[in-house]
Symmetry: C2
């Protein structure tokens, strides 16, 4: 019913680099191109596209990535038309990315509703995700810039929060969607505030999912980020000419580098949020990968041919061309990752410190391992 | 002076299989063919031959190994004449090995003194080793079957011991060699007895080093193991005929499978022992490899390109064709070994349990990893 009323497009942001999954993640093989979506074996980007498909078919998906990742991205999601894989000539944060992708979609369909989604998250409950998305899309179709906020399950200090306002009763039909107004976006809190947020039940995690009519975002960027709007307009005007690539290459790197949160969301009125509770994870580290992995009776998430003796709560991932047999004896809470040129051994609770390895490799000039 | 008086040959026993260095050690790449001799990069067998060279040149070295290891053994010690690499058609413990090699040497030189040495031990102090060997050879040249016993440095329960008797004063010149008579060979003790041995200073470790005139061993085998002597005589008689290989292949597997300790030493009289204190290790496990490795300020024995952050007292060995970078964060007392097809992660104090991995691989039918 909903889908008959509005034409919905997805913008999947797939430009991330990320070093938190080294040695699996590299400059040219970032997190969204890694098979971290549970045991499916799919890379996260492909899982994202396939999860959307019942609501938004791949021919209405636009992916934004960086030039060096273009081919790997296209190979990961062959069902998405190649012309809809947009390559930023330089990374300029999320506002230029979303503004550009929105202008491309607006040119295809001026009445489009756009769902902006990250490429590298994990969602356990697809059916519930679809229900929440339908509510968010319906709310956006009424003219609200809408976000999906994740119902917190712990006092997380690593995410931004969205403070809930009143239900959107005044918005007529939107009341059917369970959407709430947004009081404010809140920066990453300290632990004390995060505990307050968790107990107060009036704050949701900002998971970077945004829904809007293309024309509404167009207007908001014009109002709050006029310099960005002007640049996008130039790119847009050249887009069907022989100069398209040159203009993009010249203009895009000059666009203001700002996030959509700071540049637009925090300034916009008529904001809405739909609470979501669908087994979400941002897959932030090897610790998350262990949490999401299929585990045996000893809490180990292993490869099929791993030998684990007196081993508990550990993660093994073999991502090399040659799948090596990993043998663990007498270890616990350990992460072991094998790739073609590097092996990582780190306790789960130190998983964030993978960046220290990346820093050490940089310091030693081992760019081939980055 | 000594070397001018007697012609000394070495028999290096290199037939061992051994699973304690899995995944580095395999059926076709046993411990003596692994580079475990400290940081030299040499395999243990090559280090053994080179260590002997100032006393016993490679042209007087006989190596006994198994048929499947012949080529790898020859490649490891190209300085040893190929004809002196003897291949047992089947493993029959040390008595047949030593009796056969002795008969080969006796045919070359009836007056030869033979030094039997393991191929897979580590010796830190070569100069002292040479001094001890000269004393043992001089004692053997006087007609004593002589062993070198290692002065214990701990209450080890994993080795056999040699109980010292009186100095060999009655043996005339042998008194110059520091040799003692042997009261008895003692089986592996329990911890209580091992402590008594350590404190009593009358017991030495049996390190499997034996020295004798070829003709003396010939006579002892004839006396105590007549069946073995008869078999060796058949092999010996055929050795310069066209049937040599066939006779060896038919006879050798029928020889009694018994150790030189049980078969000869424990029954012989005129036994002598020279105490040795030259930084000996039997390199029994990855724990030993760590002990012998060059360590950094944090007690880590690493590869040159290992990244170690907050890591102490750990061992990393990368033995694959592709030398991978291993990154360790926040681990201690850990062993990580990479090979072409398998990775081992095990705490140092569990190093003996590598055999549990080998057993598990056998149980899963993964013979390609054994």
């Amino acid at each position: 019913m909903l889908r008959a009323m509005v034409k919905v497009y997805a913008v999947i942001m797939a430009g991330g680099a990320g070093t938190r999954f080294w040695p699996a993640s590299r400059v040219l093989r970032p997190k969204q191109l890694l098979p971290l979506a549970g045991q499916s074996g799919e890379v996260l980007l492909a899982a994202t596209v396939q999860r959307l498909a019942p609501l938004i078919t791949p021919d209405r998906v636009v992916i934004v990535t960086g030039e060096p990742l273009a081919n790997a991205t296209a190979a990961a999601v062959p069902e998405v038309p190649r012309a809809q894989i947009l390559c930023e000539p330089a990374p300029r944060n999320t506002a230029p990315c979303i503004a550009w992708a929105t202008s491309v979609i607006e040119a295809m369909d001026p009445d489009a509703v756009v769902a902006v989604l990250p490429s590298d998250h994990f969602i356990a409950n697809s059916a519930e995700f679809h229900r929440v998305l339908e509510r968010a899309i319906a709310t956006a179709a009424l003219g609200h810039v809408t976000t999906v906020g994740i119902v917190p399950t712990r006092a997380e200090t690593g995410y931004g929060y969205i403070e809930l306002g009143a239900p959107l009763a005044s918005a007529g039909n939107a009341s059917n969607t369970g959407a709430m107004s947004v009081l404010r976006f809140v920066e990453k809190p300290n632990l004390e505030r995060a505990l307050e947020f968790l107990n107060g039940k009036r704050h949701l995690w900002n998971a970077g999912m945004f829904f809007f009519r293309a024309r509404d975002m167009h207007a908001l960027v014009g109002e709050h980020l006029p310099e960005l709007a002007a640049g996008i307009a130039q790119i847009d005007q050249a887009s069907s000419t022989a100069n398209a690539a040159t203009v993009l290459k010249n203009i895009f790197p000059t666009l203001p580098s700002i996030s959509i949160d700071h540049g637009v969301m925090e300034k916009a009125t008529r904001l809405a949020v739909v609470p979501g509770n669908f087994g979400w994870s941002d897959v932030g580290s090897w610790q998350s990968a262990w949490e999401l992995g299929n585990k045996d009776d000893h809490g180990n998430a292993l490869e099929p041919d791993t030998i684990a003796i007196d081993t508990t709560n550990s993660l093994v991932r073999t991502l090399g061309t040659t799948k090596k047999v990993v043998a663990l004896v007498g270890v616990r809470d350990l992460v072991v990752v094998d790739t073609d040129d590097a092996i990582l051994v780190i306790p789960r609770d130190r998983a964030q410190d993978v960046r220290m390895v990346v820093d050490a490799l940089k310091a030693r000039g081992k760019t081939n391992l980055l």
